[in-house]
């Protein structure tokens, strides 16, 4: 729409398959969220917030695994600089995403006032700045 798939892949640094994986995780998460909130007497009422967030955690894990394999293959093919850069970038993005998900989940479980939403969102703000810098480089 605003970006072509090629531009998205270049900008985010993720492979098309990884984008697909994260979209699938979002879809499953939204289904579990609806089950949890609308649950009533059904099976969704017993879901804890940690279980609702499982698709995101699984997608992060699979994406890390996929990136490690791609980086090892790149390293074996002699593209050492590209392999290290790709691994470093994806791990940074995934760790920031993971920290945000963990903090959000903890907030939803405990509802403590010490954990305010500005703090929870801080990894997302850092992520936005990193993406902006990368866009300038890719451009």
């Amino acid at each position: 729409m605003l970006f072509s798939l090629r531009e998205l892949v270049q900008w985010l640094g993720f492979a098309t398959f990884e984008i697909f994986l994260h979209l699938l995780a979002l879809l499953l998460f939204s289904v579990l969220l609806v089950l949890k909130v609308d649950g009533g007497g059904g099976g969704g009422a017993g879901l804890s917030w940690w279980k609702v967030f499982i698709p995101f955690f699984a997608a992060d894990g699979l994406s890390t695994y996929f990136t490690t394999i791609v980086s090892v293959r790149l390293f074996q093919d002699g593209e050492k600089r590209l392999a290290v850069l790709r691994l470093f970038w994806i791990l940074t993005i995934l760790s920031l995403k993971f920290v945000f998900e963990m903090l959000l989940c903890q907030k939803l479980v405990e509802q403590t006032r010490e954990l305010w939403y500005g703090l929870i969102m801080s990894p997302v703000f850092i992520l936005l700045q990193l993406l902006m810098i990368r866009a300038c480089r890719v451009n």
Partner: protein
């Protein structure tokens, strides 16, 4: 005139940042605003995208345009238009629910988002499996 990647990223980044700041202010109870006001950056961004899309589609009606070039393209543009409308429907329904204008169940609010995600995944899957095989 086509915007460069940096311009498009800047546009997306600016509206996302504004929306997230307003969302954090609302969730931390620092700003007692209406949910529809919190979503203002989303409404503006969606309007810009819709206008750009409609202008591009209307370009086909110009005299001298050869329709044989873009039968695939118009299908893509139509899908993008539907996707935008689905996203808009989801955001509007979500705002109405959060503002307690309606007692609708969450499952009905999420239907447009699910349709959008499934459509997006089909398009991505086509790009991964079908185009690569070609």
């Amino acid at each position: 005139m086509r915007m460069s990647l940096a311009q498009r990223v800047l546009l997306t980044w600016l509206f996302t940042l504004l929306f997230l700041i307003m969302l954090v202010l609302k969730l931390d109870e620092k700003a007692p605003w209406n949910w529809f006001l919190i979503f203002i950056p989303v409404w503006i961004f969606d309007t810009i995208l819709l206008v750009m899309l409609i202008v591009k589609m209307a370009g086909r009606c110009k005299s001298g345009y050869d329709p044989r070039n873009g039968s695939q393209n118009i299908k893509k543009k139509a899908w993008y238009l539907i996707a935008m409308l689905l996203k808009l429907a989801f955001c509007l329904a979500l705002c109405a629910k959060l503002q307690q204008f309606t007692e609708m169940k969450l499952v009905y609010i999420f239907i447009p988002l699910w349709a959008l995600l499934v459509g997006g995944m089909i398009e991505l899957g086509y790009n991964i499996f079908y185009v690569r095989r070609d």
